[in-house]
């Protein structure tokens, strides 16, 4: 069994205007998991993330990080280890040069100057941002801004990285770049939580899917379980991933034996076709 890293129990969060944003949310997150969070806009995903990071204080419930219950005095510890990449990079970027921006997190951790410099350098290399150090954010393209906002969190060396709709408003090339970064981070055994509307991406990338609807978690399981559950899909306005639909159609039409080995990407599907041909 994997180690539990974050435990959320009966979380409830109410907005200033009295609207209930999160209602009795309980979930446990384990080391190295790749989690996709699905749900319509306004279903509580972003609020949930800001609670996890301690920016919002829940009106009820408990968050435990590695066995330590979250309180006012260990907030910094939590924020250090749980980093959020915000949906709109412009909301996140605060400094007026890339170097200063990426150093903001590590500087707030009160690290030594050498350590900050080292981490900033590593993060910039990781996101292929070398040579951009002195560039002001208003002379960056949308994709570059996104990369900077990810480097921000990489430089903090957070254990859990949360991405709030990272592919929103990115062009296909940048979306691909982002997926590669996700793969790379996943391979390094980081715990990743991503909110997204892209079911195909979720299907090929995630190990676990959590579905939010009206401030509640209505489903939590493997991508296959979730996407085969018509009830959940209908309730949260989600489509089935194209690969799953194609597979099921082929099985239904008798063209494919139901081996339960679901292809998740076009590459895997291609292999499956090769096997079919050889039989």
């Amino acid at each position: 069994m994997k180690n539990s890293i974050l435990k959320v129990e009966n979380l409830q969060y109410i907005y200033g205007n009295g609207k209930m944003a999160l209602d009795d949310v309980s979930v446990e997150i384990y080391e190295g998991e790749r989690i996709a969070v699905l749900g319509a806009n306004g279903s509580g995903k972003s609020t949930f993330f800001l609670n996890l990071n301690g920016v919002y204080t829940p009106s009820h419930g408990r968050i435990t990080y590695r066995g330590k219950t979250l309180e006012k005095k260990n907030l910094t510890e939590l924020r250090k280890n749980i980093g959020i990449v915000f949906q709109d990079a412009d909301n996140q970027i605060i400094a007026s040069s890339v170097m200063a921006e990426v150093s903001f997190g590590p500087m707030n951790l009160r690290l030594t100057k050498e350590e900050v410099l080292k981490r900033v350098n590593e993060a910039l290399i990781y996101m292929s941002l070398k040579g951009f150090e002195e560039r002001p954010p208003h002379y960056l393209s949308g994709g570059e801004k996104k990369r900077v906002s990810i480097a921000d969190i990489i430089a903090m060396k957070s254990e859990v990285m949360i991405f709030d709709e990272p592919t929103a408003s990115l062009d296909p090339a940048n979306a691909l770049m982002l997926e590669e970064v996700m793969q790379k981070l996943g391979n390094e055994n980081k715990t990743l939580i991503i909110s997204t509307h892209d079911v195909d991406f979720t299907y090929r990338w995630a190990q676990r899917v959590i579905v939010f609807c009206n401030g509640k978690i209505i489903a939590d399981g493997t991508p296959l379980d979730i996407f085969k559950n018509k009830e959940v899909l209908k309730q949260s306005n989600l489509k089935q991933p194209a690969m799953l639909q194609v597979y099921e159609m082929l099985v239904e039409k008798g063209l494919l034996k139901d081996t339960k080995e679901y292809p998740k990407s076009t590459e895997e599907f291609n292999e499956l076709l090769d096997i079919m041909k050889n039989n």
Binding site: V55, A95, S96, A100, F104, H138
Partner: protein
């Protein structure tokens, strides 16, 4: 003879300045549409900021540049000497254009920004009012005379030269130093920390707001929101109000994002000051002595 030359000069200079400022205005409008390669988006265009970022003199230490500029400006207005002013105008132009790599057209376009103010305010200095027919040139306006004299015109010219020189010195700093570095220098001058933090954030938000404004403006323009002055006013008022509301609503999101990265009321960045070479300091000192020398021999 002398008078004629001065009158001609007085007329020629403003006319010349106007032609420049008008062509430049036209050019600026064109430039706004095209932009300069580097990944900036339409609308977030602020020419001086961009020139500073692309200047070769950006490598120089910002504290040095700011201090040098201030010394030059104070020499310029303190000595109040036409020759000193002329030398400053030429050398600042040389530094920013030849060494810094800015195009002459862009340099003059920025220099022409204050031209309207200079001309208008100089008029008030070279013309005076009197009940008696005094001065070298005068005109009767019913109840008295508007008059001017050679010495007043000379004073006006010297003042104009002085202002252009001081503006040139300021340009040396603003066209070669990105604002973020200026803020860093201000921070080091022991202003309250929060003040520098505010400056930092304001600088960042200026571009976000400009972008929001420009997007809304384009959307309104597509719907004929600027067809005449009246519609303009209504559209402008609506746009401006809307941008303010949207931005204030976002303020909380900005704060949350900062807090999620452990912001604790103190805006900390790792910003390194650029190295300063001994050669630069010596050259700058020599230049200042040179100005003093000119003043000494021409006063």
């Amino acid at each position: 003879m002398e008078k004629t030359i001065i009158v001609c000069l007085m007329l020629f200079l403003p006319a010349f300045a106007m032609v420049i400022s008008l062509t430049v205005q036209k050019r600026n409008n064109e430039a706004r549409g095209h932009g300069h390669g580097i990944g900036h988006r339409h609308g977030s265009w602020m020419a001086i900021d961009y020139f500073a970022f692309s200047s070769k003199l950006r490598r120089w230490n910002a504290t040095f540049k700011l201090a040098f500029t201030l010394v030059i400006i104070f020499l310029c207005i303190g000595l109040n000497n036409a020759f000193v002013s002329a030398v400053i105008i030429v050398s600042m132009f040389y530094m920013v254009v030849a060494v810094g790599g800015l195009s002459t057209r862009d340099y003059i376009s920025v220099l022409s920004i204050p031209i309207a103010f200079i001309l208008i305010s100089v008029i008030a200095i070279i013309v005076d009012f009197s009940k008696l027919p005094v001065g070298d040139f005068r005109i009767f306006i019913g109840f008295g005379y508007l008059y001017s004299s050679i010495s007043m015109l000379f004073n006006g010219l010297r003042l104009m030269l002085k202002i252009i020189a001081a503006v040139s010195a300021l340009q040396f700093m603003i066209l070669t130093t990105p604002p973020s570095e200026v803020i860093l220098v201000i921070r080091k001058m022991h202003v309250p920390n929060k003040f520098a933090d505010l400056m930092n954030m304001i600088y960042r938000y200026i571009f976000i707001l400009l972008d929001a404004f420009s997007k809304m403006k384009d959307a309104a323009e597509a719907r004929l929101g600027y067809r005449d002055f009246k519609t303009f006013c209504r559209t402008f008022g609506g746009t401006a109000g809307n941008v303010l509301v949207l931005s204030l609503k976002k303020a909380e999101a900005y704060y949350d994002a900062m807090e999620s990265r452990c912001y604790d009321g103190e805006l900390l960045f790792l910003e390194e000051e650029k190295k300063i070479s001994l050669r630069t300091i010596i050259s700058a000192t020599l230049f200042i002595f040179y100005l003093l020398l000119i003043w000494f021999f021409t006063k």
